[in-house]
């Protein structure tokens, strides 16, 4: 379900307008509060919900993780580097909090300086690999990595 805005919480700061990848969060010219101008085009990416400093934007979550009538709310605390979710089922009995890291290093301090990286050699240019590909998928370190090689097994069903 698309985003919607609690008018009493919004102060029209425009963070959601800036961050919306579909450019559908706009400021209403009369009340100067944000609103979703085209709900059909919203893909519920939650970017605006997390960016809103007043937690004024809400989305009804997908039915595969919470049944209808529930509440799913999120708070993104970038200074602590975490995102927190709270899911409340409609009967109020299930009230669940979740917390996950969104960064492990301070923002903007560890950006890879690609301009300083050495240019690819002629051999690298002629190979089938993309730039940096061997390093990241680690073909150069024991071949193709598999679940077995990593000591993992694939579970069936829904994880608890």
């Amino acid at each position: 379900m698309p985003t919607f805005v609690y008018m009493t919480r919004c102060d029209g700061c425009g963070q959601c307008v800036d961050i919306c990848p579909s450019d559908i969060m706009h400021i209403d010219p009369k009340v100067r509060r944000a609103y979703n101008i085209e709900p059909n085009m919203c893909w519920e990416c939650y970017s605006c919900v997390k960016a809103c400093p007043h937690n004024a934007i809400d989305v009804r979550g997908y039915a595969d993780f919470a049944p209808l009538g529930h509440s799913v709310r999120v708070r993104r605390d970038e200074e602590k580097g975490v995102v927190a979710w709270r899911i409340i089922f409609r009967n109020g009995e299930k009230d669940m909090n979740l917390l996950a890291p969104i960064t492990t290093k301070p923002w903007g301090k560890h950006i890879p300086q690609l301009a300083d990286a050495p240019p690819p050699s002629q051999e690298m240019r002629e190979s089938q690999y993309l730039y940096n590909e061997p390093k990241y998928i680690r073909f150069d370190d024991g071949g193709l990595h598999t679940l077995d090689a990593a000591g993992l097994t694939l579970k069936t069903g829904v994880y608890e």
Binding site: V82, L99, G108
Partner: protein, 287 residues
């Protein structure tokens, strides 16, 4: 000029009794009260706040006492109402404060100047007149800043500053009222109270003021009543633990957090550092 009561000059030079002006002020006050009540009924805002309060009560983890509620009300008054602290955008906050305080000074001193008529000999209400002019000037400063800079910035879809819509009823009538109040006062001093130009400016001033106070149902005038209610309810939701259904973010270095969310110490270390500002490093520009 700026210490002269323009209403006194008007009353002395034109057949306009102070009683008529006083009746007009009373009528405007009644229109504001009636318009606000109509707005509350039409938008069902009181019902909304009540029902929201009831639904959050079910999630409350503790009872908020009467004394604490008074404390929250005082903090809402000092922060959200008096200093507009809810605005993230600094420019909007400053512009809003200039407009708001200008409006308050202007309205209060208008009532003082009009109800002080006929002025006693020697007492011309110099300070009130000075504040009346300062209020109008402050409204113009904040309002035009909003109109030409902030509002135009928001309307990134090609709506220029000269495009006026019905939705601009509040800000346009407010600006016209403040602007023509000042123009009227200047013209009174320059061309005389009975000049055609001065009377014309006065007519526009009164027309703008009447529009402002009589169109609450169609404008955003009523925001000054429901915004403090919203801010108060938001703070109550934090105090009673319901947090408006929002999740709690614990202290990441606490043992309880580490036990409950083992991902945090695993990925962020035992004592996660301060991560600084991410997207908030840049102010939004509405594009």
């Amino acid at each position: 000029m700026i210490t002269t009561n323009p209403f006194e000059v008007l009353s002395a030079n034109l057949p306009l009794e102070p009683g008529v002006m006083q009746a007009y002020v009373v009528l405007m006050v009644l229109l504001v009260i009636g318009g606000t009540l109509l707005d509350v009924v039409h938008k069902k805002s009181a019902k909304y706040f009540f029902e929201k309060g009831q639904s959050l009560k079910k999630l409350a983890r503790r009872e908020v006492g009467g004394g604490e509620k008074v404390g929250i009300a005082v903090s809402t008054l000092t922060n959200e109402v008096l200093t507009s602290s809810e605005f993230e955008n600094r420019d909007r906050r400053i512009s809003h404060l200039f407009t708001m305080y200008g409006f308050i000074f202007f309205v209060v001193t208008t009532a003082i100047l009009i109800f002080g008529l006929p002025a006693a000999e020697g007492g011309s209400g110099g300070l009130s007149a000075l504040l009346w002019h300062a209020g109008a000037l402050s409204m113009c400063f904040g309002g035009y800043w909003f109109w030409f800079k902030i509002r135009a910035d928001v309307r990134s879809e090609g709506n220029e500053w000269y495009n006026v819509h019905q939705s601009d009823l509040f800000v346009v009538s407010l600006l016209l009222m403040a602007t023509f109040a000042l123009i009227w006062s200047i013209l009174q001093a320059v061309t005389g109270a009975t000049s055609m130009l001065s009377i014309l400016a006065f007519v526009v001033f009164i027309a703008a003021a009447t529009t402002l106070f009589s169109t609450i149902l169609w404008s955003k005038f009523a925001h000054m009543f429901f915004k403090p209610a919203a801010a108060f309810q938001k703070k109550i939701a934090v105090a009673d633990g319901s947090r408006d259904k929002l999740p709690e973010i614990p202290d990441l270095a606490s043992a309880e957090c580490k036990e409950r969310y083992p991902d945090i110490p695993e990925y962020m270390g035992d004592n996660p550092p301060y991560m600084g500002l991410g997207i908030k490093r840049e102010a939004p520009n509405h594009y």
